[in-house]
Structures are given as structure tokens and as C-alpha cells.
Symmetry: C2
Subunit: 191 residues, 2 copies
């Protein structure tokens, strides 16, 4: 087959995959996880049930693929924000604020319970800790942040503290959470 | 029936209930959640399978009862520590350290995924936030802690930050996490 034809098939497959994930996310958001079936997903995607099974063996595989796509997009967003420039304090604050807003807007607790131990989540958490840890190391070196505790421990502190954003009612409360979390990172003179 | 007899039956029932929860926790810890069955639980408890079903309809009911008992014990422990005396800074630090150690020692991620949305967990989290929030309010009034942010928001920050203890390798690292978290609670002069 000519290369162009292969590319066309591949891009068609990608389009069907993405459409399936979008349709599933919409069904889950509207009707809840428990009521979603492969038939309903196929119908909402606009493909046959047999075709759907050629792409995904079951609902969990679709949800995992959707979750991987979400996490990938979030990491991409945080990386872009980190690379925007400004001093280390500004960049760190921007990254932490963006992460807190992601936690604030997530309403996929059902999904998290189902999926949160997947390998893709473990890998994504590691990349997130690395991203934040590198900023904290840079801040410690420049004297803007505390240097008495290892950056990876501080990264873990930050990311856990900011997941409190999930239960906060307003963006103003999320901003305050980011400030408090940052206050834990400042250099301290302990007597 | 005489009252004494009723008491005896009741305390026998309690003993069977507790023995069932202990046996189940031991089975889950040793073999993992997926391999536990009602038959194995009955055998490990030393009662018949039919008797077990008089106490609990299924494994999830047993796990929920076990989890409720655990959470109750933790809240009781934290309340006792809060009431031990000392200044507000010492009491807060002792409560937060105890909570962090509980998070550090918990290895029930499977169970959490299964149960974490239960009503008993929601109520326990609320009591925990209240307990910590009251200490933070007292600290803000005395000037020992920051007063620019509401105590319930700060309580949520604390408790989420301290859940990072679950992934920390050592007790020393847990101590450092508690210090960092407390540093976020100190009064701040912002320019």
C-alpha cells in the first residue's frame, strides 16, 4: 500500500479512538460510571458495537485510555507553564497554582477509585514529582526556598497539600491553599 | 430472660464480631483482598460459615465494619493526644505527628479504593477536620499560628499535606513532613 494510504488509515484510527474517549467521558459525566455499557458507548461514538470491540476489549480499557490522555494533557500543560520564564518563585507558584486548579476541577472520584493504581498513573505521578522537585531544587540553590529538606520530599509535601483543592468551594480558596503551601517552602531559621 | 443472660449473649456477639474483623484483617494482610472468601473468614475466625452469615451479609460489610473500627480507634487516639496538655503549639504538633504516623503505617490502598466513599469515612473525615480546625482556631487566637486564613481551610491543607506520609520511607522523613506542614501555619507578614 502507498504510504499516504497507511497514514490515512492510521489517522482514521486515531480519530475513532479519540471520538470513543470523548463519547465515554460525556456518558460518564452525564449518567455516572455504573450505567455506561459498551453498546451505549458505540452508539454515542457513532460506530457499530463490533467495531468498538476492535478498538477496546472493555469499558475499563476505554477509561484507562481516557485517563492516560487526560494525565498526558495535564503534564503537558504544567511543563509549558514551567517553561514560561520568570524567576523561580514565579514559575513555581504558576505550576503549583495550575496543579491545584486541575485538582479543583476534577470530579472523577469514581474513576480514581477504579483506576488509581494503574501503572500509567504511577509513572505520571513520578513525572509530576520530578517536575516540581526540579523547581524546588533550583529554588533551594538560589536561596529563594528552603534547603534543609530534600527537594523530592518537599515535592511530595506540595502535591499532597494541593490535592486539598479538590474539596475547596472557590478559586479564591484554592489561591489561599497555594499561598499556605508555598509558605511551608520558604527558608526557615530554626532556633 | 434475666438481664445477666442478655448481657452474656451481647458480649458473646461482640466477641465474635471482633474476632471476625481481626481474622479478616489478618487474611487480607497476608493474602491480599482478592483471595479472601466468606469460607476462609469463617474458618480463620473459628466459626461455621452459616454463623458468619448471621453476622455479616458479605465481605464488603466485614471490611466496612473493620474500617469503621480502625477509624474510630484513630480518632480516639488523636482526641486523647489533643487533651494531653501543653501549649497549643505542642498539642497541635503532637496531633499532626500522630495523624502522619497513622498515614505512614496504613497499607490498605486496596481497601481505600473499595471503601473510601462510604458515609462512615465522610463522617470521620469531618470529625478529623473539626478536631484539627479547633486547634488551629485556638492557635490563631493566641497569635501562635496564622490568622489570615480560616481554620477549616488550614485544617484541610494540613490533613492533605500529611497524607504524603503514606509514601515516605522513614519516620525521620515523616517528622520532616510535619515540620514543613507546620511552617505553612506560622503567622506571616506579607509585604
Amino acid at each position: 500500500m502507498p504510504r499516504l494510504w497507511n497514514d490515512t488509515i492510521e489517522s482514521h484510527r486515531e480519530a475513532v479512538r479519540h471520538a470513543t474517549l470523548d463519547a465515554t467521558a460525556a456518558l460518564v459525566a452525564e449518567h455516572g460510571l455504573a450505567s455506561v455499557t459498551m453498546s451505549k458507548i458505540a452508539e454515542a461514538t457513532g460506530i457499530g458495537r463490533a467495531t468498538l470491540y476492535k478498538y477496546f476489549p472493555d469499558i475499563e480499557a476505554i477509561l484507562t485510555a481516557w485517563h492516560e490522555r487526560q494525565i498526558g494533557a495535564h503534564l503537558h500543560q504544567l511543563t509549558r507553564i514551567r517553561d514560561q520564564g520568570g524567576d523561580i518563585g514565579e514559575r513555581l507558584k504558576a505550576v503549583l497554582m495550575a496543579f491545584a486548579m486541575i485538582s479543583h476541577q476534577r470530579h472523577d472520584a469514581d474513576l480514581a477509585a477504579l483506576l488509581h493504581r494503574g501503572d500509567h498513573v504511577v509513572r505520571a505521578h513520578q513525572r509530576l514529582r520530578d517536575l516540581v522537585g526540579e523547581l524546588l531544587a533550583e529554588g533551594a540553590e538560589s536561596g529563594a526556598l528552603r534547603s534543609d529538606i530534600a527537594p523530592d520530599e518537599l515535592a511530595s509535601y506540595c502535591l499532597h497539600a494541593l490535592t486539598a483543592a479538590g474539596a475547596l468551594p472557590t478559586k479564591a480558596a484554592v489561591s489561599r491553599l497555594v499561598e499556605v503551601t508555598l509558605d511551608g517552602l520558604r527558608p526557615v531559621a530554626r532556633g
